[in-house]
Amino acid sequence: MIETVVSAPAVAAVAVHAAEQVAGVRVQPGVAGLVGSVVRAARQQIKGLQPAPVEGVRVRWSGTAAVLEVDVVISGQDQAAAVARAVQRSVRALVPELTGVAVESVLVTIVDVAW
């Protein structure tokens, strides 16, 4: 499914979904009060995904490609560096696949570790 124009909230919702595919990852705004979303939570139905609130994800544009920032909380035993890389891979794969939007870069910030 590729739309002619894909909005930022749609991209953000997919980015959240992608990030949370990685074990132990939950998307959350930064502890310093960083408000991640450029566009307020707008609900989008994409391929049957439950719409996700988009705080914790910032979407900017470089031409037609998305420049993404994701703030996450991790739990579990996996090494933070490895989890961050896994989130990047997941987002890089799923955003183009589900929205047709190319991803230029994904900045992952681990804001907290939970048990």
């Binding site: 124009v5 900017r60 470089s62 031409g63 037609t64 490609a65 190319a102 230029e104």
Partner: protein, 185 residues
Amino acid sequence: MSVAEAAALDDATLVARSRDGDVRAYEQLVRRYQGPMYRLALRIVGSTGDAEDAVQDVFLTAWRRLGQLNDDAAFIGWLYRTTTNQCLNVLRKRKPHADTELDEHESPAPRTRPDRAVEVSAQLDALQAALRGLTPEQRACWVLREVHGRSYDEIAEAIGTTQQSVRGRLARARAQLAEVMAPWR
């Protein structure tokens, strides 16, 4: 530090303070260089929306990367190179028939001083149109050299090539532009 004091500080000092996290110092840097960077971006990418996005991105990235800067005096050169790079990426990603996307991104017409609004000459218009006929790299080389006065060394680094290649592209750009401007002789 008052705004007036900050405005009188030289670049290297503002950079050093910004590096320490001084947000007001960084704001002065942004105010000082938003004009040149925007004009550079606009002349390379040709659309106000893309130029705005590129410049905003560059200044945010610059803030984050300040910690990696070794030499405070190198900041401005870094700004030029990064802006150029960003713009070339935008152009490379543009699909061939990008007209609709340009319309969506377009902001209201670029601000010029009111008394000059009517004076944009046909000649300048022709030059702007002629620039669009160049390849992105040729355009970047020419704008950086002829409009912004950057050195060959800097341009080579910005584009990611050799000085020899920069001179070659510049020559080709100049010849092509001259040909297009010929009717205005």
